[in-house]
């Protein structure tokens, strides 16, 4: 009986001793930001609400980062490439799903296509723009009224910006996603939306 008791006590102490020092691993303070133009998706709907797979994508440098509504703009300003912008916006979209982040995710994909010609980015950009319309139809972003000295902002409907991005993105220095702008209107129509090219507004087809 004493041997049995001793064995049990030894097992207990062993487990505690082996487990008590749980710290190890390696220091992880720096992630290199991507500057290439190749888009490798973790899943087909990465970057498209409500999918959050971008957080699992091993290529995403921001996946485990503490990105929030305050820090995201500073990080955006310092982004060295369209690809890093995409990961940034898709990451915060996965964490805080609002229309503004979905739009900027779409726009960064569009930019990635513009600078690198990634067909993957082009296809994904269309999906991301559509997600703005489907899920965040009334969402806005805020533009600075730079003609006023004080910091004053006014709201702009994201859906109209989506219309412009799809129909004629030249003003934004982006390549068109469609060979013919009419094809953009066709797609929008199939999705249930109408883009008025005269006043550049989008409405739902009733």
């Amino acid at each position: 009986m004493r041997i049995k008791t001793a064995l049990i006590v030894i097992c207990f102490i062993s487990i505690i001793l082996t487990g008590c020092d749980s710290k190890g691993g390696h220091i992880l303070n720096i992630e290199e930001l991507p500057t290439d133009h190749e888009l490798i998706l973790y899943s087909n709907n990465e970057g498209i609400y409500p999918n959050t797979d971008v957080l699992k994508n091993p290529n995403n440098p921001y996946a485990d980062a503490n990105i929030n509504m305050e820090s995201v703009w500073d990080l955006y300003d310092e982004c060295p490439s369209a690809k890093s912008k995409y990961y940034l916006w898709a990451t915060i979209l996965a964490k805080i799903p609002i229309g503004e982040y979905q739009y900027f995710t779409a726009k960064s994909l569009h930019e990635l296509y513009t600078v690198g010609g990634s067909e993957n980015a082009k296809k994904q950009a269309k999906k991301a723009y559509r997600a703005v319309l489907d899920h965040f139809f009334n969402s806005v972003t805020w533009w600075e009224a730079d003609w006023i000295n004080d910091e004053v902002y006014y709201s702009v409907l994201l859906r109209n910006m989506v219309g412009e991005s799809l129909y004629d993105p030249s003003e934004m220095n982006l390549l068109p996603l469609y060979s013919d702008p009419v094809l953009a209107l066709v797609d929008l129509s199939e999705w249930g939306y109408y883009y008025n090219t005269e006043n550049c507004t989008i409405s739902k087809i009733e």
């Binding site: 049990i8 097992c11 207990f12 487990i15 505690i16 082996t18 487990g19 008590c20 749980s22 710290k23 190890g24 691993g25 390696h26 220091i27 992880l28 303070n29 720096i30 992630e31 290199e32 930001l33 087909n44 709907n45 498209i48 409500p50 999918n51 957080l55 440098p61 921001y62 485990d64 980062a65 503490n66 990105i67 929030n68 820090s71 500073d74 990080l75 310092e78 982004c79 060295p80 890093s84 999906k127 559509r130 997600a131 489907d134 899920h135």
Partner: protein, 1041 residues
């Protein structure tokens, strides 16, 4: 035989004395108030004499415990009117049958002993149990008594002699009896005795028991020489010891369950003891476990056979002549006996032990003794006075016939002829007809057995609406629903029940969560995939699920196992059955689940018997509230000395949705535990546990930070899944009970629920990543208990701080966020570092109604009892981020930040008063500073709460609360840190039937809730928030049928 001759002479002398004394009384015109009872012996055998007359004990073991109550029920604490109503009902029936004696486990107060005697000629055996079910010795409650312990013997002797003094002059007392099968509970340990072989060990212990009996009887006779003394022995075990050590014994009381015959009992007692025998308990249950139905005929046959034998063995029949009668066990069924604290409203059909003497339903390896079915009367409905009627079974009528016979006036052949001539078939038919009449139904495969109709009329109001629009600003709504209860028994081996819920209109109670909201009109989002994209549309759903199965349970009984399927019926944890780590959580908060329309627990249980004994499997979609679909296997093995339990829990997948915001879903996991429980030679109890948990997380990555804010990335290793714990419980100084434990759990070694005893406020956690130490004490000082407790817990890895990310344009410094249990393999939450201490003081002068029992609110019968104390907990570190369940998105979401380091305290008191039998007052006071359980924003509130309940005449229930700066009434208010400046509630209900039980009675009533609002209150309950208020008031009814 010398002894017998001596006894004979003494008895004869005493008999003469009795006659002289009686004559003296009558001669002086004084009506005798005290009876003189004695035993008598001559060559023909033994008799009992009361005031010189032959007295054959035709008795029953009597107790009155209504449906819904258990052993803690105290009839004598009720009003005199109610007691009288009960006694009149019971004794009228008894007298009609010819009962002349009762024995009761609870001491009947003297005035009622006399009442029963004067009104019904029924005498009472005053039975002190001599600590059979535990006793308070020098202020400490001992569940099992050590009869060799001097202080124990002194206390028992002193108390029992006081008991004798109290009753010695009480008219109606037949005799004093000691114990109730105490020879079956000789379980205490001591160094000397434990070294003996088991048989000898118990024999040695029995000597102490019988010598104590003898001491008490000897001293008792000096106090009261007019009543004989008996002991209540378990069968005739230790007969030799009784003969040797109980020289003062007058009558041997025997509890014997030997079936139709007592076999050699009479002969052995005659030869080895030479005293009269009174059967203090014997009988048969009236339930056939094989046919799964009531069997009053088999019961009656055994009862008849038993009494025929008692008559034959009585004085003057040429046999042993030592039978002086018996007490049939028992008068009426008791619905609390199986499991004792559970299913108190159900007449349980489970058999709890096996006895081959009862051949009508005996099968090897199958329990056949149904504890709740031993009555010669069954439990009926309450009558107009609120007394549960006793409905005679066939055994009652058989006894009525037998007890017409006076064994001392009839000779043996006439006795036997009379008993043999009892028309059993006629009585069986009569009883069956009565049974059918009483139940008003025949046996059916499926039948409605009850239900309830519930309704509400509610007014909701908000300050702004009311002030601006007056009455127009009030919102009125009404709601109705019906519950229908069904039972079914398609075959003898399958039985079950289910309840249907039918919704009428759904009431709108804006300040409450409640069952039935599933029927509200709501808008849902429908997702579809189109062109590889998820497209959502909305749809309005009306008349949703107007009819649903509320609960369901079915049991299949087999020789080798019981198989139970369950759906939303209460189920208990295994914490006292080897589940050291609490892997199976309790699921008894049905009301808490109902308000969220949760359907747990849902699954099946396999319970092994015979060769599969010890094996239990529970599996299902949600076997406790919030569980993932899982299976748990438990195997108990080992012996009495070392009890082992092996448990494996395997989640099959992650639960799809959660029912409340407080219940974030958890990733699928698995746990394996091994536990050992043993009693050390010192008497201390040692519990050891080993845990292997979360192996699926091995190689999962997690991050942490060092003191220089270097961020590390690491992986979960095998040792992070390991846990061990040890707990020792021991008595100190013969008074205090002390426990001490250590619990180590690796980073992902999450366990289950920790059982909370004595309402402790220690911040236990099921999560791993900790080393915890705890010690506590139960220090009884008379009726006062002191309960100090100390707890310390340290994390193996602390929570992650918030470190902002930054970039230099080329590299990214990712910063760090608090972990959460979805994104990380573990998180520091409730398992955070803590130093916690508390002290509670409990005063309860009536320990039989255990103060910490879950249903003490209805059972406590002390004039005044309370518990008061407080807890102070220091949390020196922050937590990681809690999760909540975002119902609209059907996904978990993180609060993003952790709770801050903080020192918290809580003081609380519970006071129960029973100033008179018609009034009960329960009050709870609580105040303190506590933290939210999720949302880190906002300050931790300092709050005060008072609630009270008044129960008047068992019929009027008035309850209410007042709270200042407290969270709202549901968990999520605390989770999201939502408080109200003031909250008030008042509820009055009137029970309108005779059950007089708040859990089962029909009722009507009204309820009002009022809350003031500020910036910490929920935005949907007010507009301006500041100096705003909301209220809800309404009438309700709940009619049971």
């Amino acid at each position: 035989m010398d002894r017998l001759i001596f006894w004979k002479k003494t008895k004869l002398l005493k008999s003469y004395l009795v006659i002289i004394i009686l004559f003296s009384f009558f001669a002086t015109g004084y009506a005798a108030t005290q009876d003189i009872v004695d035993t008598y012996y001559d060559q023909k055998g033994w008799k009992l004499l009361v005031n010189g007359d032959d007295y054959f004990v035709k008795g029953v073991v009597w107790g009155y415990i209504p449906v819904g109550e258990n052993y803690a029920y105290n009839l004598w604490a009720k009003s005199d009117d109610h007691i009288k109503n009960v006694l009149d009902h019971e004794c009228n029936l008894m007298k009609e049958a010819g009962v002349n004696t009762i024995r009761s486990f609870g001491a009947i107060p003297p005035k009622w002993v006399t009442y029963i005697y004067n009104e019904y000629d029924i005498m009472t055996i005053m039975n002190h149990l001599v600590g059979r079910y535990g006793y308070t010795v020098n202020g400490a409650w001992k569940p099992t008594l050590d009869y060799s312990d001097k202080p124990t013997r002194q206390v028992l002797k002193k108390d029992i002699l006081n008991f004798i003094k109290k009753y010695k002059n009480t008219p109606g007392v037949l005799m004093f009896a000691l114990g109730n099968e105490n020879n079956y509970s000789l379980e205490w340990t001591s160094f000397e005795i434990e070294n003996l072989p088991e048989g000898e060990r118990y024999k040695e212990k029995a000597k102490y028991l019988y010598s104590l009996y003898n001491e008490i009887m000897g001293a008792g006779k000096k106090i009261d020489s007019n009543h004989p003394f008996a002991i209540v022995n378990g069968d005739i075990q230790y007969l030799g010891l009784i003969a040797k050590y109980c020289k003062n014994l007058d009558i041997l009381g025997v509890n014997a369950y030997r079936g139709a015959s007592f076999t050699d009992m009479w002969e052995r007692v005659s030869k080895e003891l030479g005293l009269p025998v009174m059967l203090t308990e014997f009988g048969s249950d009236a339930f056939d476990v094989l046919d799964k139905e009531e069997d009053q005929t088999s019961q009656a046959k055994i009862v008849k056979s038993n009494w025929q034998e008692i008559y034959n063995k009585s004085y003057g029949n040429g046999e042993e002549g030592n039978a002086i009668g018996g007490l049939q066990f028992e008068w009426r069924d008791e619905w609390w006996k199986f499991k004792q604290n559970e299913n108190l409203f159900i007449h349980d059909r489970h058999a709890s032990w096996s006895n081959g003497g009862y051949s009508f339903d005996f099968m090897e390896g199958v329990n056949n003794m149904n504890e709740e079915w031993f009555g010669i009367c069954r439990m009926g409905e309450p009558n107009e006075e609120g007394v549960y009627k006793a409905e005679p079974r066939m055994a009652y009528y058989v006894l009525k016939e037998i007890w017409r016979i006076n064994p001392y006036k009839e000779n043996k052949s006439r006795i036997n002829r009379s008993i043999n001539n009892i028309e059993m078939n006629l009585l069986s038919l009569k009883s069956d007809v009565q049974l059918i009449k009483s139940e008003n139904r025949k046996r059916e495969h499926i039948k409605i057995v009850g239900g309830s109709l519930q309704g509400d009329l509610v007014l909701n109001g908000k300050s702004e609406e009311v002030e601006n629009r007056g009455k127009e600003g009030l919102e009125f709504s009404h709601g109705e629903m019906i519950f229908l209860d069904f039972e079914f028994q398609p075959t003898t081996k399958i039985e079950g029940n289910f309840t249907l819920n039918l919704l009428g209109n759904v009431v709108d109670k804006q300040l409450e969560q409640y069952y039935g909201k599933r029927g509200e009109t709501f808008t849902t989002v429908i997702s579809e995939t189109e062109d590889e994209m998820e497209v959502t549309t909305t749809k309005e759903i009306k008349d949703n699920e107007r009819v649903e199965i509320y609960s369901f349970e079915a049991i299949y009984n087999n020789k080798y196992f019981d198989l139970t399927t369950f759906y939303h019926v209460p189920r208990y944890h295994w914490g006292y059955d080897g589940d050291t780590y609490g892997l199976l959580w309790e699921a008894t908060d049905m009301e808490g689940m109902d308000i969220w329309n949760a359907k747990a627990p849902y699954g099946f249980e396999f319970f092994g018997k015979r060769s599969l004994k010890g094996l239990t499997v529970v599996a299902g979609p949600e076997i406790y509230w919030g569980a993932n679909p899982k299976a748990i296997v438990k195997y108990d093995f080992g012996g009495e000395k070392y009890k082992y339990s092996f448990i494996h829990s395997e989640d099959i997948k992650r639960a799809g949705t959660a029912s409340t915001a407080t219940e974030a879903t958890n990733p699928a996991t698995r746990q394996t535990a091994l536990s050992l429980e043993t009693q050390l030679t010192s008497g201390a109890k040692l519990e050891l546990g080993y845990l292997f948990s979360g192996s699926e997380k091995i190689d999962d990555e997690f991050s942490y930070v060092d003191e220089e804010e270097n961020i590390y990335l690491d992986k979960i290793k095998f040792e992070d899944t390991q846990g061990v714990k040890a707990k020792i419980t021991f008595d100190a100084f013969k008074i205090a009970k002390i426990d001490a434990s250590v619990n180590y759990a690796g980073l992902v070694a999450d366990a289950g629920n920790h059982i909370r005893e004595f309402d402790t406020l220690i911040p236990y956690s099921s999560l791993g990543n900790k080393v915890a130490f705890e010690t506590g004490m139960l220090l009884p000082m008379g009726d006062v208990w002191l309960l100090p407790r100390f707890f310390y817990r340290k994390n193996l890895i602390e929570s992650n701080p918030i470190i902002d990310p930054y970039t230099d344009g080329t590299n990214f410094y990712p910063g760090l966020t608090p972990r959460n249990r979805d994104a990380d393999p573990f998180a520091v939450l409730g398992n955070r570092e803590a130093v916690s201490g508390e002290l509670f003081v409990t005063y309860d002068p009536t320990p039989a109604t255990y103060f910490y029992a879950w249903d003490n609110f209805k059972r406590e019968d002390a004039p005044f009892a309370f518990s008061i104390g407080g807890n102070y907990t220091k949390y020196p570190t922050t937590t990681d981020a809690y999760l909540f369940y975002y119902q609209e998105g059907k996904t978990n979401a993180s609060f993003g930040k952790g709770l801050p380091a903080e020192d918290l305290w809580l003081a609380k008191g519970r006071f129960i008063m029973n100033p008179n039998p018609n009034l009960m007052v329960i009050t709870n006071i609580e105040g303190g500073k506590q933290q939210a359980t999720g949302n880190p924003d906002g300050e931790s509130p300092k709050y005060l709460s008072l609630d009270a309940k008044f129960v008047i005449n068992q019929r009027h229930y008035i309850s209410g609360y007042a709270k200042k700066n407290a969270w709202g009434p549901y968990d999520w208010y605390r989770q999201f840190n939502i408080t109200f400046p003031y909250q008030f509630m008042l509820d009055y209900s009137l029970l309108i039937d005779n059950f007089l039980d708040e859990l089962i009675s029909s009722r009507i009533g009204f309820k009002s809730i009022f809350r003031t609002l500020d910036e910490n209150s929920p935005t949907n309950e007010g507009e301006d928030l500041i100096n705003d208020y909301v209220f809800q008031t309404g009438l309700y009814f709940d009619i049971k049928f």
